[in-house]
Symmetry: C2
């Protein structure tokens, strides 16, 4: 899945914009943000060309223990990752994020309602979004929404939705 260099090279031959960007040395920067797919020019997307991150948002009203919380967050990170498998733009963002050291921030939100509103906003903003429901074998009722994973995506877009949430 990660080995996309050949596919990329084929596309560059077909696409004169990508050929030109490769010559300027800016092709990686070009691929970092989805904004560029729309504008076809990375210079129009300076606000978007920032480092990227993943934010995992945990419900604080469930009082989950440390292990339970960790397992739910791991689940969210994996589901976000899986969403990048069959989408070229998302995969490129995922690869950029891996190169940055895959930063993950874990924050808290007071309840399910606020979590679902946030998840909806994230999806509307075009961000990778994964809502996790617990299987309910231990501690929680089956189907309880526990966390939402957002990203990887550009810091700026994610911050616009999550910067007011406090670290867990």
């Amino acid at each position: 899945m990660i080995a996309s260099s050949n596919a990329g090279a084929e596309k560059e031959i077909e696409d004169p914009v990508e050929q030109m960007l490769k010559k300027t040395g800016c092709i990686e920067l070009h691929y970092q943000v989805e904004c560029i797919a729309e504008h076809q020019d990375w210079r129009k997307c300076q606000n978007e060309v920032k480092n990227c991150k993943m934010v995992i948002v945990v419900r604080s009203d469930l009082f989950m223990g440390k292990g339970k919380t960790a397992a739910q967050c791991a689940h969210a990170a994996l589901e976000c990752c899986r969403q990048t498998f069959n989408n070229k733009k998302k995969r490129l963002m995922f690869e950029s994020w891996l190169r940055c050291g895959q930063p993950k921030i874990v924050v808290k939100i007071p309840n399910e309602e606020e979590l679902l509103i946030l998840a909806d906003k994230a999806e509307r903003a075009g961000l990778i979004t994964a809502i996790i429901k617990d299987a309910g074998i231990t501690q929680l009722k089956p189907g309880t929404v526990t966390v939402v994973g957002i990203g990887p995506g550009s810091n700026e877009t994610i911050d616009s939705l999550t910067s007011k949430l406090r670290l867990l």
Copy 2:
């Protein structure tokens, strides 16, 4: 990466054992364990044909907070997942695990030395193993070993190494 059905179908045409197993309705079971690759007969691997899981082992001597722990565990789960991208047998185990609801267990271990010994045993047992070192931007020194992810793998193999560790 997940869309392996076509590749599998091509192989079945070439491999009479797999053709036969498909007819019996046992092909998925057949693929669940690496043992079968050796024996070419799932009936010889009954001890291995069990549900699978991932265990994430957290150092308790670092006294990481809930958010820090969750981020490290998410990192471990993703690294384990990435190891399955380019390995057919590991990928099949990963897919079985996804179908089981991707169970993850988070346990604790007293210190780095014991964690590294466990990781070494897991690797020698042929399990997917990912040792995570913290970037050290907050709380910990750069390069501190924080957690190890083991699996997805068969319950029996993983339990033989981790069953004595307590839940976090």
